[in-house]
């Protein structure tokens, strides 16, 4: 039997959860011995190459591309984990959910004090994905198996969750691991 396979994605997040994953520090050397990585922004595997045991998702869904990536993860991953506040409930980007999009649009490209006065335009191109009306948490798009809270979840929490999943044992979530800020 081969080593367990892990894949990761950052959707509408800030990459902080991926940084927290790297904050496991020296333990990454150990992880490299016991697992293999498939599709992830920290490597150059851009499409799934095999079935994946654990999928870690950072960020919610703010555009059509996020939804496609999340669905592909659900299809290929046995266990899918929402990592951090944005994946779990939209997080800070979801602050836009109560604001009409027209206002956001105008503020970013038309009202900015440094915007070019000559021709102020709003980007619109076939190569840009379609923005969703709201930022959606991952479990509203596909079924999610586990949730790790925090902004970001601490490296120790991510480590505990990943090792528990690899060893097939229940999570030991102490107060220290799940409190944040």
């Amino acid at each position: 039997m081969g080593k367990p396979v892990i894949a990761t994605a950052s959707l509408a997040g800030c990459f902080g959860c991926h940084m927290s994953l790297l904050d496991i520090d020296e333990r990454i050397l150990k992880l490299a011995e016991v697992v293999e990585f498939d599709k992830s922004p920290i490597d150059d595997i851009k499409t799934f190459t095999r079935p994946v045991d654990i999928g870690l998702i950072e960020g919610g869904c703010c555009n059509s591309e996020n939804v496609e990536v999340l669905r592909a993860f659900r299809k290929h991953c046995k266990v899918l984990v929402s990592v951090g506040e944005c994946a779990i409930m939209g997080g800070l980007p979801a602050l836009r959910n109560s604001i009409p999009l027209k206002e956001c649009l105008d503020e970013a490209y038309l009202n900015s004090p440094t915007a070019d006065p000559e021709d102020r335009i709003i980007p619109n191109d076939e190569d840009l994905p379609i923005i969703l009306d709201k930022v959606y948490p991952c479990h509203e798009v596909v079924p999610i198996d586990a949730f790790l809270p925090g902004c970001p979840p601490s490296a120790d929490l991510i480590w505990e969750a990943v090792t528990a999943l690899l060893e097939g044992r229940p999570l030991n979530l102490t107060y220290e691991l799940i409190k944040f800020d």
């Binding site: 800030c14 904050d23 520090d25 922004p41 503020e107 490209y109 915007a115 980007p123 902004c151």
Partner: protein
């Protein structure tokens, strides 16, 4: 009919981007674009929030360099509470500097070792399944361990100054919320080994030696790859020294002539404009003095070592002299030299951290100041990736009414597009077969600028209500309206 190559997602960079390259029937490149495909909407949704929330809210733009946004927002709010530049207590300013240089250390180490070095140490054409940090561990476990610990040391400095490694709370309008205890200080100075500042200085110097060795063996590649002239912009200390936390704006052209000098950044709007193009959510900034066509510039390590006159720490200054001598003192316009410049900054950051750790002001107890409240403030820092601008207006109810953010990666939008185009023209155009290694070179060009695409997606911008699909002749093939 021609064809289109899409690289999506661009990997081993922070955040979400893609590249499209269009070729004609003969395989000749007709267009290349680096797109930022996502957006958030910070400028609008921070409106109405109380101003003291800004430093903790806006850092959620970016989990790699949250400290930059945390500090730029705090510096803008310092101005608003009447405690702008020069008015903070020594303890507050030095704690913030320690936090910031700790971030420089972790971010530069992360970028070079974890993200970029596989292209050099494993090779641009090596197996993409192994061309990553895990492959680096397999190749050289000692080097990978040092890389991990360098980043860890920087993250622990951030934790000691901001309370948390990612998205901390240390800086507040007018100051800081903690000092550095003697126990925390001694841990960084004395260890346990190998996590001491002296070891970090040693490893940073070794990283420069590693790059210079690679350079010596691959001169044509490192010097020639995506080499093109540009202007360069950064903050410099009033006396022209390299400074990441505070200074005045300076811009030089490709020959080293000063385009901007000694500019107070509160007046940035008079000097910087931004153009929007239809195919990217990231804007294209330019120096107003030179206009839209010629005013684009680079920021970040390459630019900073072109604008500053010297580096105020001895070991990094010595490396800087060798670096400057390589271009006869002229600005360096070679994209891959960004890595060399970044590693010199890594060493400088480690030296500054040591200097700060030895400073008794860090144990001071005067943490916060305030003065006459004003309605508007601008805060700038040199983030790891370049100059970061935060500008806010606040009303009499203490609510934010306007936010304008220009992040480091946005300034490098045009340079990154030029670098992508250089690879498209010189590596991909009119080739019988396009290999994975060739496409990786497109990403190597982007990675040299260490883009933070999460930062660059702060503008929520639009929900396109209309999507059109055009053929190569510009004819509309499909249009979707919703």
């Amino acid at each position: 009919m021609g064809r289109k190559i899409t690289i999506e997602p661009v990997t081993r960079v922070e955040g979400h981007g893609k590249v499209t390259i269009r070729l004609d029937d003969a395989g000749k490149v007709t267009q290349s674009r680096f797109h930022i495909v996502e957006f958030r909407g910070f400028e609008r949704f921070v409106q109405g929030r109380p101003y003291w929330e800004a430093p903790v809210l806006v850092q959620r733009l970016c989990g790699i360099c949250p400290v930059s946004h945390h500090l730029a927002a705090a510096k803008a709010m310092d101005v608003i509470v009447g405690a702008g530049p020069g008015k903070l207590t020594a303890t507050a300013e030095k704690m913030r500097r320690l936090m910031h240089y700790g971030q420089m250390l972790q971010s530069h180490a992360l970028h070079f070792f974890h993200l970029a070095s596989p292209d050099f140490l494993l090779g641009m054409d090596s197996d993409p399944a192994l061309r990553n940090v895990i492959g680096l561990i397999a190749l050289d476990k000692d080097l990978a361990t040092r890389a991990v610990l360098l980043r860890k040391f920087g993250q622990e400095i951030i934790q000691a100054t901001a309370g948390k490694k990612i998205h901390g709370t240390g800086a507040v309008p007018g100051g800081i919320n903690k000092n550095l205890s003697p126990e925390e200080r001694d841990r960084f100075l004395k260890g346990p080994e190998p996590l001491t500042i002296d070891r970090m200085i040693e490893w940073s110097a070794a990283a420069i030696a590693l790059f210079r060795d690679y350079h010596a063996k691959n001169k044509d590649l490192v010097d020639g790859f995506a080499h093109f002239p540009s202007n360069h912009l950064s903050l410099v200390r009033k006396d022209g020294a390299l400074d990441f936390y505070h200074g005045v704006l300076r811009a030089v052209d490709a020959e080293g002539r000063k385009v901007l000098n000694d500019v107070d950044y509160q007046d940035y709007i008079a000097h910087i404009g931004e153009e929007t193009r239809s195919w990217s959510y990231m804007k294209f900034p330019y120096l107003r003095a030179l206009g839209r066509a010629d005013g684009w510039y680079r920021v970040g390590p390459l630019a900073r070592l072109n604008t500053c006159d010297h580096i105020p720490s001895p070991l990094a200054q010595k490396e800087f002299e060798a670096y400057k001598a390589y271009t006869d003192g002229k600005p360096n316009n070679m994209s891959l030299h960004s890595h060399w410049a970044r590693l010199i900054e890594l060493l400088h950051s480690a030296e500054v951290i040591k200097e700060l750790l030895l400073d008794k002001d860090l144990q001071g107890t005067k943490l916060v100041k305030s003065g006459r409240r004003v309605p508007e403030g601008v805060g700038l820092v040199e983030a790891p990736r370049g100059t970061l601008f935060h500008h806010y207006r606040v009303d009499e109810n203490d609510q934010i009414t306007m936010a304008n953010l220009i992040v480091s990666t946005t300034h490098n939008n045009e340079p990154m597009n030029r670098a992508v185009n250089w690879v498209a023209m010189n590596v991909l155009s009119e080739k019988p077969e396009i290999t994975e290694g060739m496409l990786n070179r497109v990403e190597v060009a982007i990675r040299a600028y260490d883009p933070c695409l999460s930062c660059a997606t702060h503008a929520l911008g639009v929900m396109p209500l209309e999507v059109t699909l055009e053929g190569p002749d510009g004819r509309v093939l499909q249009r979707k309206v919703r």
